[in-house]
């Protein structure tokens, strides 16, 4: 076993030397790629969405070379802290629990409204069965609201649970649910009240990466000041969305 690990290390080293002549750090941007309009995979197979466009602009302003990486939501924070990528832009709301493990920049999306969607109007979202994605602020909220929480690994599955009757309602970011409700042909409908949750969406970074945090914070500030962030928000979330 030890020999094997050393052998792998030797191979790794020789491979490293061949590529060591490149310079300048590439910032690897981690995202989920399954949460439109924030981030999704387009027809060409590339990461697309509000965060892709925003992230590319932030990198340009901060004069960084960036590359997008997809990662499962469940392991998105562990892989950030172990260094597989350098940032998280995945519609991740700033919460105290997450802030203990990673750092956030200032928010680039104002505190969002979360909403319930059910198959019919008469759903009692405070007592019924409510679906939410694992490890989201919505899941935490449902657990405390008195409803029965069922968790799923992907946003897609939470909506599917309502469609097939496993859950009475799904609780998620309103922006994710709007296009689904619009195109469901009346099958899905918003129920209950909207709930403002979290401290807005920020860009997640390792706590030790203070330089990078400073650069992204400055870039976000400059985009807020010259109004380009508002234009982008309206483009992806409609004219009625909250802006800065």
């Amino acid at each position: 076993m030890k020999n094997l690990i050393l052998g792998t290390a030797a191979v790794a080293l020789s491979a490293g030397i061949a590529f060591a002549d490149g310079h300048g750090k590439t910032i690897r941007m981690g995202t989920e790629g399954a949460y439109p309009p924030y981030n999704f995979i387009n027809d060409a197979g590339e990461v697309d969405g509000f965060e892709r466009e925003l992230g590319d602009e932030l990198c340009k302003r901060a004069e960084l070379t960036c590359e997008w990486v997809k990662n499962d939501w469940d392991s998105i924070i562990p892989n950030l802290v172990s260094g597989n990528y350098d940032t998280i832009m995945a519609g991740m709301s700033i919460t105290d629990e997450r802030d203990e493990v990673i750092d956030f920049t200032q928010n680039y999306y104002p505190p969002t409204a979360s909403a319930y969607v059910g198959a019919s109007d008469g759903v009692d979202v405070l007592e019924g069965v409510v679906a939410a994605q694992t490890a989201t602020i919505q899941a935490g909220y449902v657990a405390e609201s008195g409803a029965t929480l069922v968790e799923f690994a992907t946003p897609e599955e939470t909506v599917a649970a309502v469609r097939n009757g496993e859950a009475d309602a799904v609780f998620a970011d309103k922006d994710y649910l709007v296009p689904l409700v619009e195109e469901s042909g009346g099958e899905l409908t918003f129920v209950g009240d909207e709930v403002p949750l979290g401290g807005g969406i920020g860009l997640g970074l390792r706590e030790s990466d203070t330089d990078l945090k400073g650069k992204f914070d400055a870039a976000i500030t400059s985009m807020k000041e010259d109004g380009t962030l508002n234009t982008m928000l309206k483009k992806w979330f409609g004219d009625d969305t909250t802006t800065y």
Partner: protein, 294 residues
Amino acid sequence: MFSYCSDPDSLGTFAWFSCYLTTGVHMSFYVAFFKVLLLLAITAPVALGFGFLGAMAARSRIAPLRWLGKIYIAIVRGVPDIAFFLFFVIALDQAVEYLRHKMLCPDWDQPIRQGSDFVVCQAAKMPLGNAPQYLHETYGFFLAVFTFAIVFGAFAANVLYGGMRAVPHAQLETAEAYGMSHRQTFWRVLVPQMWVFALPGLSNLWMVLIKATPLLFLLGIEDIVYWARELGGTKTSKFTSFPHGDWRMWYFLFLLIFYLAFTRVSEIVLERVMQRLTHGQATSGGEAQRKAAA
């Protein structure tokens, strides 16, 4: 892909599907099939090699080597696959980066573990942070091959160990009576005869390995199951030219057919191999073949 695909809404069903099934994401889906096949093609022989070494070690006359072989078999077989895949791969990756960090950045003064962060210098990153994405994926792929090989190697070692012990002892005694050394007996008498006893167990392992490939997704490799889930999910017209409802059932049905066809082909091939290996062996199968020919 085709020239008429620029406006999918106006197309008939057949043309729509011809465009839909040739989008960039679908190409990634098809490539993922080759990834899975490549993984199997590399992992199976490597795992068999690990298994052979493990079995040889486990029946070695040198005590420490024997303990090593037995410990390898016992520990890896006893740990759940998922735990192994989640823990071992991250540990292996960090071990590689740690070693590189110690060698390449001797004057680094900050701690590597800062709270929950694992921080090594840029030159020690594996692959380097500025390496293109395909290198990251290739690196991850080989970590996966290595992990699969260790896990399945332990099972294979146990099967081969049993196969070696199943070879009739009289065969080995006869070899020694002819004056063969231990080494000669092992390679000329024991190894050629053990396969027929090991093959049923090995073919089981192969079937399990085929179906274990979705574990790849745990390692961040976008395998066919990931893509089936991603492509089959509901798509709204705002974000794609090909909106559709929840089609995951159809994609998973396709995967089901793929896996069934693949395991069926494997069964046929393994059956043939078994026929060949049985030929001339001192087993009931070999005896039946001999009588049928006579």
